[in-house]
Each structure stands twice: as C-alpha cells, then as structure tokens.
C-alpha cells in the first residue's frame, strides 16, 4: 500500500532517526511512505496562534500539495499532524478563510484531504495483529512506558483518534503487540514543557522530570514517544534532572518507530542512536535486541 508522506523539517534534520526508522518499519509492514514532491515547514503550532490567514499559508500549501498526490496524507511527527489537521478544519469550516487562502495560493482546495498520524495508520490499516505476526525479535517483556505528549490528544474533538483522549492506549497496544510490557502511569499525556525549553528550561525540565519519575516509579525501563520535541525535552534534560533530584536514574527515550524497527528484525544501524543524549544501546544490547 502506498500513501503520501509528509516528513516535516525536524524529521529531515535533527530527528532523522525517527524518519528513517519510520520509513523502514512501515516498508517492512507493506506500507510504502511516498514523500510529497513539494513541501514546506508546517509552522510547528505557531500558525494556529492567531486568526491571521496569512499564517496558515504554510500548512495550507502542504495540504494542497498532499491533495494533488491523492486523498490521504500521513505524517510521523505529531506536531505536523496537529497543525495540518487543524488547518484542514479551518479551511473546511471558515468560508472566508478558505477563499482567501485559495486566492493567495492560487488553488481550489476544499479541505478534503484526510490527514493521518502514522500510529493511527499502523493501528487502523496495518493492524496490530499483523504487526504481532511480523515481529522477529519480540521485546520479551521489556517494560516500556508509552509517552503520548499532547499533539495527538488535544484538542480532542479536532485531532484525537483515541476512544478516550484522557486515557489513550494506541501506543500501549502497539508496545504489547511487539512483546513489550506497557507500563501504566498517570502522566502519559501530560505536557513535557514543549517550547518552554527555550525560554524557561527549568520549568520544562521539571515537567519532563515528573513524567519520567512517574514512569520509572511504575517500573519503566524505557520510554517511547511520537514527538521530536518531547523526545528532545525528555532526553536532553536528564543531565539537569540528575543534578536537581538526588537518586534520579537516567532512562533512554526512543521513538516508537525505532523500537518497532528493532522488533521487526530490521537493521537499526541508521536509527541515529548515537545522537541520543541518554544512550539507549546498552539497555537494548543487554536485552539482545541489538548487537553492539
């Protein structure tokens, strides 16, 4: 199955490991992610800050490009997913705005492109059963905490594909399908601090710490996430966390697609583990999931 794919800026640069592992594992599951021929930055939540249609031209252009390539567009970065979904909704529901954007971008886009998150596609179209059958290296009861971040959960009516956005389970179910033991903890959908890392790193650090602390107290050995900003916050701040909280144990933060690739028996050499601040390799090697 082929589906149009929007990598976004971060996945093409700092989070290349996410992109490569996503493409890799999707392909192994029969899902070919076809890059959009023309794309630009989605705006990373900032276009949605005001009612200014000009700010929406960026993501709108992505949607138009996606529409030209078919009826569906999938993205792995959840921030891109959030922005594109919500921009789509504005275009569908705001007649004035739709007209302005189409005039400016010289297009006739009606807002009918279906924007999907990669995890959503894995759940609904590939199916976790199929993934379970395709697993070559089961994770053997590894205790993994799924961290959803906010982008796929809020605002629930606009972006959530979970039955109960207050208690999400898609990532947990995927982990179970890979043979891991998903850890239940109350902070799985709480904010990591997001862009506060730039302005108030201490606040962001505390938010991230609370998440990791809760996951660890519930037995997590590893955390997986679906958002490059979350991964950055949870990963990079651990040095400071150790300084400020005595007894803090570092814990590796992976993208769920990296773990998926490993479980499917793929070669994780290109997954960018060396770029992670907290090294995941020793844990993975100790479980015979990768070769050192």
């Amino acid at each position: 199955m082929r589906i149009a794919y929007f990598p976004g800026c971060t996945l093409s640069t700092k989070a290349k490991g996410f992109n490569d592992s996503a493409r890799d594992s999707a392909k192994a599951l029969g899902l070919e992610l076809v890059d959009l021929e023309q794309w630009n930055c989605c705006g990373a939540t900032f276009p949605l800050l005001t009612d200014n249609m000009l700010d929406l031209t960026g993501p709108a252009r992505v949607l138009i490009s996606g529409r030209q390539q078919g009826g569906r567009l999938v993205t792995a970065c959840t921030i891109c997913y959030n922005v594109l979904r919500r921009t789509n909704r504005v275009i569908r529901e705001n007649e004035d705005g739709r007209e302005k954007l189409n005039l400016f971008l010289e297009a006739e886009y009606k807002g009918d492109l279906e924007v999907l998150d990669l995890l959503q596609v894995l759940r609904d179209e590939v199916g976790f059963d199929k993934i379970w059958e395709a697993v070559k290296r089961p994770l053997d009861g590894l205790k993994v905490a799924a961290y959803y971040g906010c982008m796929v959960l809020r605002p629930p009516k606009e972006v959530a594909y979970e039955e109960d956005p207050e208690n999400p389970c898609a990532l947990d179910d995927l982990l179970a399908a890979l043979g891991a033991e998903p850890v239940n903890y109350p902070y799985k959908g709480e904010c990591c601090g997001a862009y506060l890392i730039v302005k108030s790193p201490q606040v962001a650090g505390e938010l991230s710490y609370t998440i990791l602390d809760s996951a660890q107290r519930n037995g997590a050995q590893l955390v997986v996430t679906n958002c490059p900003l979350c991964q950055f916050n949870l990963d990079r701040q651990q040095g400071l966390m150790g300084q400020r909280h005595a007894g803090f144990q570092p814990i590796p933060i992976l993208y769920f697609t990296q773990l998926l690739g490993i479980a499917l028996g793929l070669d994780s050499g290109d997954y960018g583990f060396e770029k992670h601040y907290i090294d995941p390799c020793s844990l993975l090697a100790s479980r015979n999931l990768i070769a050192i």
Partner: protein
C-alpha cells in the same frame, strides 16, 4: 344590515404600546366600522382591565350585540376573561372570539403600515368566524374523584397524604418493594442534620395505614388512557412471592438464602440475598423475592426460604397481576438518579473503589449502611484521613456533561464534609468548588458552619485528574484564589455527580403523553406561574422528576400538586369545551376512516346503523377527524368548513 349579517362588536386593544406601537389601532377601529355585520367598533388601552371589560359589557347590552370580537393578545391569555365578561352581559360566551393581533402581528412585524393592514385582515377573518358561531353550552362530563400518584418517594408520599387527607381516594404506585425513595437512603438531611429515616418513616407509616390510600408497591404503570377527570390506568403488580399480610419481617428467610448479589439500596457497597427487605422500616413491612437473582422459580430450584418461614408467607406460585383502575387526576413524582461515575472521564472512572458518588457516601455515613456508620474506605476498610470532595461533577458542563446546575450538591457536600469530620475529627476534608449555592433557609449559615466550626478546607478551583497511586488517590486541582496548583494524596474522593431523572422517566412520559425537556425532566406548564402542572390537563408534577430540587422544595411542590388535584375534585362537575365533533347522518357513509384517527377514541362505528357516532364526553376538539373525512360529514362545532373558508376568504382579502 340584514339580520343574517349579525350585530357584531369589535373591540381593539392597544395593550399599552405592545399593539399600538406597531399597529394603528384607531385607524383599524374606524375601518372596521364599515365592515359587513359590524355595528360597533372601538379601540381602548387595556381591554383586560375592569373598565375595559365594562366597556364590552355595556356595548353588548346597549347596542344589542350578538357577537363580539376582541382584537388583542393571544387567546391563551384572556379568552376566558372576555368570554366570562360576555356571559355576564347576557351574550353566549362562544360568540365571543379573540383576534390575536399581538403575538401574531404587532410583536412580529416592524412596518406599521403592513402590520396594520395584516391586523385588519385578521380581525375581518375572526368577524367571519363569529358570524357563523353557534351559541354553545359546555358539556358536563363525569369526574372520577380518585387520584393516581406515580412514585413513592417523599414527593409522592406527601402528595398522596395531602390528597387522601382531603377525603379522596389515592392509588400510590411504587416500582420498588418499599416506598421511601432516595430519602430513605440518606443518612442525615441538611440543614438540621435530622436523621433522614427518622423524619421520613412516620410519613411512610401514615401512607401504609391510611384508609384512603391504596398502596401498590413492586408495581409499574403499564398504560394510562383517557383525559382529565377520566383516566383509565393499567398497573402491573409484579409478583413478590411473599404474601405481604402474612410476612412478619422476622428475617429467617434471608438467613438461609444461598444467593448473594450486590445490594442496590447500598449502591453496590454491600450484598443482599435474593429474598430481602430493602431496609427494616420498609413500608409495606414485608420481604420480597427478587426473581432475577433467585436460583430459579420455574421450575423451583431451591425452597429454603419457604421452609424457614414460620408464617407461611412465601408463595412461589404468585403470578403477575394487571390491575385496572379509573382515576381523575395523576401526580407524577418519579424522582431522580445520579449521573454515572463511569461517564466522568478523568475523575476516577468508576474503576477506583475509593472514588465514590454522593449516594454511595450517604450509605457509608448511614448507621444502617454497609459499615454501620463507621467511616471506612471501600478498598481496604481503613479509616480515611484525607478526604476530597469534588463539586459540579457532570453539572454546569456543557461540553463534557450536562449544562444545568444540580442545585443540591453544594449543600450535601458541606453536609458530607461536616459529618465526616464529626466521625473522624483528626481527618482533613477538602472541597473543590466553583461557586457555593446555598440559597435556602438556614443554608448559608450551614455552609459557614462547615468552614468555621468543622474546619473543612474550601478550595475554589476545578479538578483535572484523579488517579490511583499505591494506596492513595491522587487529586490534581487548582486553588484559583491563591493561584496555586494543588495536589492532594487522598484516601477517599467523593464526587458530587449531577442529578438526572430516574431511569424510565422518558418511557413513562410517552405512556402518559406528557412532555419532557431534552434531559428527561418533565415539563411544567409554565416555568414561573405553573410549576406543578404538566401541559396535559389532569396530570401534575412533583419532586425532582420535574427539576433538581431539595427535600423542602419537593414537599412544597407535592402539596401544590395535591391542592391542584383537590381543587379539580372539589368542582361540582367537570365542564368540557363544547367545540366537539358532530356527524351529519345523511352524509356519513360509515367508511370508518375517522375512527382510528381519533387519539381519544371518541368515535365509534355503529355497524347496525352503518354510520359513525361521537361520544362527546371523550372528544377534545382536536379536529383530526374533520380532516380525515372524505365526504365532509364530520364537522367541528364552531370550526366548520364553512367558517374556515369564510375566514380564509376575508383573511386573504379575496372577494367572497
């Protein structure tokens, strides 16, 4: 003017500026003076006033009017007023009609010229109607002076007692095995902290003993046909399998019953057996055998209870019985239920044993409850030292729950917190609130007592999440007055969930053909002035079934409903509007099409005579049969086809 034209008087009301502001009333009065049949046409500021009515009466007498058109507000407001005035002046009241030029004209248009023109057409149309109106006499219909009260909670009990004490018979139907309703489940009531059962049971006993009250418990209303003064009701008496008159409530049966199921009276916090009594003070004081949880009755699997019963009160062969009765009025008092905790999203989900709702907490407080009144938490039986109460769960929440305020939660939460502190003086109670609604008598002082005397900590803010961590329940909230986020590691969390109508309220509304709002609360006839009547004549409302309310309000409303019933019954006779259907014998071919169309079964096909006949006492004047008749044999008095056509011709300004 020929006699056939009539001598009709037209009276046009200014209604202050309500009509006169948009309609040129003086011009109307002048124009209508020259309309065929109109011999008198005047305008006046307020016709509904005493001088206004005198104006009409004097004109009737002075000018020998044989018909009156009052151009004013909606007939639903003052038709009765003007008809009475006409009657006093010697004119048949059914030759007095209202032309609505307010709600249907001046209030909905802005252009004065157009509005005036339209008003003139409306009045002309009504003049045409009056011209052909027959002078009718109201029908006297039989009135059954017995009332049906549906629901045996405090509202139903009070209504039944008030009606019965006025000397009329009451049938009180309750679907549970005992009357008492929610009040029987409460521990203490605000603001006096009276023991709920202690103040309720005397009334329950009174009902049980009252010679005028026939108490049908473990029963449900199947059907209610008819109309005010003449309802025919079918009631299903479910088999209790216990003969009430023989049962001594000794309890031997329940001790030998092998079945154990959750106890609904204790909201699932304790268990009961298949044969059980809901509480010791039940009325009737008798056990009941729950068919669903019993091991089996057909065929009989176990007979331990019958063998243990010394009084021989158990009868496995009892059958359901359908009872028919005739009543003149119905009071609906079916009470409330609580919004399910499972639907409260992130607030504990019903998964956590230590997150409970208001009624569960009442049972935990109650001396007759699962812990005998000792404060213990459901998960491990430990005494909770930190208890968080959360108000407005599901209420005042248009997005995630119900938009309305459930009215009683601020008060019962204060009560809960106080009673908790009385039982656990070294415990800490927190209340998360948005506002405090304590408007009743002594209510504000009650809440202050909780804060000042019992040390309950009130936090103004909402709660975002409640979850289990180890053996504590973590509550995330905020205190907006200090601007701080609050995290409490509680032992127990009590949710003040929204009040919703009892299960089955909508079905009952359909059976009775009364209206409900979108939440299932029964609709009152007017929100301000008619709070105890439904929109259906003869059916009255009492208690939380109509809207969230507390006990004093329920009792007051029940008394109000009872007084409406008593005033209905105290009339010497019941008068019915005579705008009934008539059948032209010569035109009626006996096709029978009209018969099933009538919602009141007032039409019947007489096979011997080959034509349809009307039972006037049942006819409500809806006109459905008139529309259905292919030959025009059925006509409605004072709404004949001839009249309607004449009104249309005049109203549309066509040539006659």
């Amino acid at each position: 003017m020929t006699k056939a034209m009539g001598r009709i008087g037209v009276f046009i009301c200014h209604c202050g500026t309500n009509i006169a502001g948009t309609v040129d009333v003086e011009k109307l009065a002048e124009n209508l003076r020259s309309y065929p049949g109109v011999v008198h046409s005047v305008d006046y500021t307020y016709l509904c006033s005493e001088p206004g009515q005198s104006l009409i009466k004097e004109a009737i007498a002075g000018k020998g009017l044989d018909g009156v058109v009052v151009a004013a507000c909606s007939p639903s407001l003052h038709e009765a007023t003007f008809r009475r005035a006409s009657e006093e002046a010697g004119l048949n009241p059914y030759r007095c009609e209202i032309a609505n030029i307010r709600e249907q004209c001046s209030w909905v248009h802005e252009d004065k010229a157009e509005a005036t023109h339209k008003a003139e057409r409306i009045i002309q149309a009504v003049v045409e109607k009056v011209r052909l109106d027959e002078p009718l006499t109201p029908l006297k219909v039989p009135l059954t002076r017995r009332a049906l009260v549906i629901g045996g909670g405090i509202a139903g009990i009070q209504a039944a007692l008030d009606i019965a004490n006025s000397g009329y018979e009451v049938v009180l139907v309750e679907r549970g095995p005992s009357i008492g309703g929610r009040m029987a489940q409460l521990s203490e009531t605000f603001p006096t902290l009276d023991c709920s059962q202690c103040i309720l049971t005397p009334k329950m006993v009174e009902v049980g003993r009252h010679p005028n009250i026939e108490l049908l418990t473990y029963s449900a209303v199947l059907e209610a046909l008819g109309y005010v003064g003449n309802f025919k009701v079918k009631i299903l008496k479910k088999p209790r399998y216990v003969i009430v008159e023989k049962c001594t409530a000794c309890g031997k049966c329940t001790k030998v019953c092998p079945v154990v199921v959750p106890n609904e009276f204790d909201r699932g916090l304790s268990c009961r057996h298949a044969i059980d009594i809901p509480f010791p003070q039940a009325v009737p004081t008798a056990y009941y055998l729950d068919e669903e949880s019993c091991l089996g009755l057909f065929p009989l699997v176990c007979d331990k209870c019958a063998r243990a019963c010394d009084a021989g009160a158990i009868d496995y062969d009892m059958q359901p019985e359908v009872v028919e009765c005739e009543v003149g009025a119905i009071v609906v008092a079916t009470g409330y239920e609580l919004y399910p905790v499972e639907q409260t999203g992130s607030l504990g989900w019903g998964k956590h044993a230590d997150v409970v709702d208001g009624l569960e907490f009442e049972r935990m407080l109650s001396a007759s409850g699962p812990t005998g009144g000792e404060m213990r938490r459901p998960s491990d039986g430990k005494v909770p030292k930190e208890v968080v109460f959360i108000q407005c769960v599901g209420s005042r929440d248009p997005e995630g729950g119900l938009p309305y305020c459930s009215k009683i939660c601020c008060m019962y939460t204060a009560k809960h917190a106080m009673l908790y502190k009385h039982k656990v003086p070294d415990g800490q109670a927190y209340v998360f609130y948005m506002d405090i609604r304590a408007g009743g008598k002594g209510y504000e002082e009650f809440v202050q007592r909780a804060i000042e005397e019992d040390g309950v900590l009130y936090l103004r803010g909402r709660v975002s999440r409640v979850f289990q961590e180890d053996n504590k329940v973590i509550v995330w909230g905020v205190d907006t007055l200090s601007g701080k986020e609050i995290e409490i590691a509680a032992d127990l969390v009590v949710l003040a969930t929204a009040m919703v109508p009892s299960q089955g309220a909508m079905d009952l509304a359909r059976k009775l053909r009364i209206a409900t709002d979108e939440y299932g609360f029964y609709s009152e006839a007017h929100p301000k002035l008619r709070p105890v009547e439904s929109l259906t004549a003869g059916i009255y409302l009492a208690g939380a079934a109509q809207a969230p309310k507390d006990i004093p309000e329920a009792v007051a409303q029940a008394g109000g409903a009872a007084s409406k019933v008593v005033s209905l019954f105290s009339a010497e006779e019941l008068l019915q509007e005579p705008i009934t259907a008539t059948i032209d014998e010569e035109r009626c071919s006996g096709c029978g099409i009209c018969v099933p169309v009538c919602p009141y079964q007032a039409l019947g096909l007489d096979l011997r005579e080959g034509r349809v006949k009307v039972t006037e006492a049942l006819c409500q004047g809806c006109g459905a049969c008139v529309v259905s008749c292919p030959s025009g044999a059925v006509q409605q008095r004072n709404f004949t086809d001839k009249q309607v056509l004449a009104m249309l011709t005049a109203g549309l300004g066509m040539e006659g």
